[in-house]
């Protein structure tokens, strides 16, 4: 039990991961799918950041007053990953806007039905 509680960050990570993937698969709305994708990516940020933190640790600046430092590398990596995530989300939303202009809908089943109806319309 204590072990379970001690690893609660991992539980949150796995929960977010599964929730994100579930939204992505279960929802037909293209924007909601992107939200799921975003939640899924966010869980990975947590996976990297949480182990880098030491309780009572400080920023890695050498000073005689501090002995315990947090690992800065995961933070730097995740800063990059966040930028990548934002770029992906922005591009995905831009595509949804264009899809709505072209199809008049952002529901996946309606779009597929429209494609089946119109055949190869340009």
């Amino acid at each position: 039990m204590a072990q379970l509680a001690g690893h609660y960050t991992y539980w949150v990570t796995v929960l977010l991961m599964a929730a994100g993937l579930y939204i992505l698969i279960a929802r037909g709305n293209l924007v909601k799918k992107l939200i799921g994708l975003s939640v899924f990516q966010t869980s990975v940020y947590l996976l990297y950041i949480a182990p880098g933190k030491l309780i009572g640790g400080t920023a890695p600046i050498v000073d005689a007053a501090f002995q315990v430092y947090s690992n800065p590398l995961p933070h730097v990596l995740i800063l990059t990953a966040i930028v990548v995530g934002i770029a992906t989300l922005a591009l995905g939303l831009a595509l949804v806007v264009r899809i709505r202009e072209a199809y008049g809908s952002i529901e996946e089943d309606e779009i597929i039905a429209a494609d089946a109806r119109d055949g190869d319309r340009e």
Partner: protein, 461 residues
């Protein structure tokens, strides 16, 4: 001094060309810059065998793109196409050049984001949906890869692939390492469109602009397969992946399924581009089959086929782009009697098609030959027979083109179309020529691949 930093320079030049193109906002200059950057990458890449294929196709497609893009992309957005092309090239070259697990992710996302944009530029509105689906699946793949890298980082404390390989044997077989292997395999398989994770590929290839399709089909999935091989044999090590886990068996099973189903599905497509897209899934199956054999000849076949299939599919999609430009599409009803009006294009498709089948005297034969040798070396005689038999399905789908273009009369009232524009034809024929050339002169491809296979399996080169 310069030689030591060549791999980095190779990535930086296209990367720097992209914002320059956006600032200049002129399609002509943009095209010239994209060509210059891509040719520089090729010139520099010749010094480094691993990158030649990628840079070469990028360099060839860039001049080709001028006419094709002019026909398919609205004028005010053309310069952006070239900017994205440069970004994509930079990302792919970065993926091959880097030795850092996290940098690899960043380069992968640079290339992927650029690819989503290239696909969305297609004329048909389905291109948008194809780009969206690729974006969702590609991002899941990349995120799975990052999860795997994160677990490896937590277990080893390093992101450098070489350091990781040195530290992994001590903790081999622990659960985080196995989980990391699984996440990285699934993530990269999504990017590489390994069956059954290929669902994004056919629509993406069929609806993207022709120049983009040739570029992506010849490079993108291949780079991911290359990275997967690097992880299997360079980081985790053959003794873990091959000896103590059923990875080769799983890969073999998936490859066998991929080759058969994708070839059969290709046979029933009504559009030449979709046919070629499904054939790509089958050909990736042959590559993973080589990896799954995990013998020296098997890996040689996988590496050779990475290259040979890259040039073959690149040539095919370039030529089909010409057909789409002149005939208004690549549906089989438009191909009827096309050999009379576009003889050079159709002959090129037929020659490259022979290479796709693996007829002796073409590049495709060399890969199939080593694949059969690898299967025999691993003691799977039936697998060798399977490779030969499934090539017959490729004969059938290439024959569908030959029948339509050469043996059918043109549809009544169809307008006579002109031969494809010269720049497009010339670049496509360069690649077709390469398909034949590498069918006879194997010193470059096979020797390079053999050295790579030796290195991957941990022997002295």
């Amino acid at each position: 001094m310069i030689a030591a930093h060549l791999p980095v320079l190779l990535v930086v030049v296209p990367l720097a060309a992209a914002p320059l193109i956006v600032l200049l906002r002129h399609a002509g200059i943009a095209w010239a810059l994209a060509v210059a950057a891509a040719w520089f990458a090729l010139g520099a890449g010749l010094a480094l065998a691993a990158e030649v294929a990628r840079a070469g196709v990028g360099a060839l497609v860039a001049p080709y793109a001028l006419r094709s893009v002019a026909a398919e992309v609205p004028p005010e957005r053309r310069y952006l196409y070239y900017a994205v092309h440069c970004l994509c090239l930079a990302g792919l070259l970065g993926m091959t050049a880097t030795g850092d697990a996290f940098n690899l992710f960043v380069f992968m996302e640079i290339a992927s984001l650029a690819m989503y944009i290239l696909i969305a530029l297609g004329r048909h509105r389905r291109a948008l949906l194809a780009a969206y689906q690729y974006l969702v699946l590609g991002t899941i793949g990349a995120t799975f890869y990052v999860i795997g890298v994160g677990l490896l980082y937590l277990a080893t404390g390093t992101l450098n692939l070489a350091d990781m390989a040195a530290r992994l044997p001590a903790i081999e077989g622990t659960r985080p390492v196995l989980a990391a292997l699984a996440f990285i395999t699934v993530g990269l398989s999504l990017k590489a469109a390994i069956f059954p994770l290929h669902l994004w590929l056919p629509n993406a290839y069929a609806y993207a602009p022709s120049a983009a399709t040739s570029f992506i089909a010849a490079t993108a999935t291949k780079v991911s397969v290359y990275v997967l091989m690097r992880y299997y044999f360079g980081v985790f090590g053959a003794h873990l992946v091959v000896a103590s886990l059923p990875v080769p068996q799983i890969l073999l099973g998936l490859s066998i399924a991929a080759i058969l189903t994708a070839s059969l599905v290709a046979l029933w497509q009504a559009d030449l581009r979709r046919l070629l897209a499904y054939s790509s899934v089958a050909q990736i199956g042959y590559i993973t089959l080589g990896i799954g054999l995990a013998t020296r000849d098997g890996l040689t076949a996988a590496v050779v086929h990475l290259f040979n299939h890259g040039i073959t599919k690149g040539a095919l999609f370039l030529l089909v782009g010409g057909i789409a430009l002149r005939a208004g599409g690549a549906g089989f009803e438009r191909l009827r009697g096309l050999a009379r009006s576009m003889p050079l294009t159709c002959f090129g498709v037929t020659l490259a098609g022979l290479s796709l089948i693996g007829v002796p005297g073409t590049a495709g034969f060399i890969s199939k030959w080593y694949l059969v040798l690898g299967a025999l070396e691993a003691g799977h005689g039936w697998l060798a027979a399977y490779v030969v038999l499934t090539s017959l399905i490729a004969v059938a789908y290439v024959w569908r083109f030959v029948e339509a273009a050469y043996l059918s009369a043109p549809a009544a009232g169809a307008a006579r179309v002109a031969e494809a524009p010269l720049p497009m034809l010339a670049t496509a024929w360069l690649l077709v020529g390469a398909c034949v050339w590498f069918g006879f002169d194997t010193s470059f491809t096979v020797e390079g691949a053999r050295r790579a296979a030796q290195l991957l399996l941990g022997g002295a080169p």
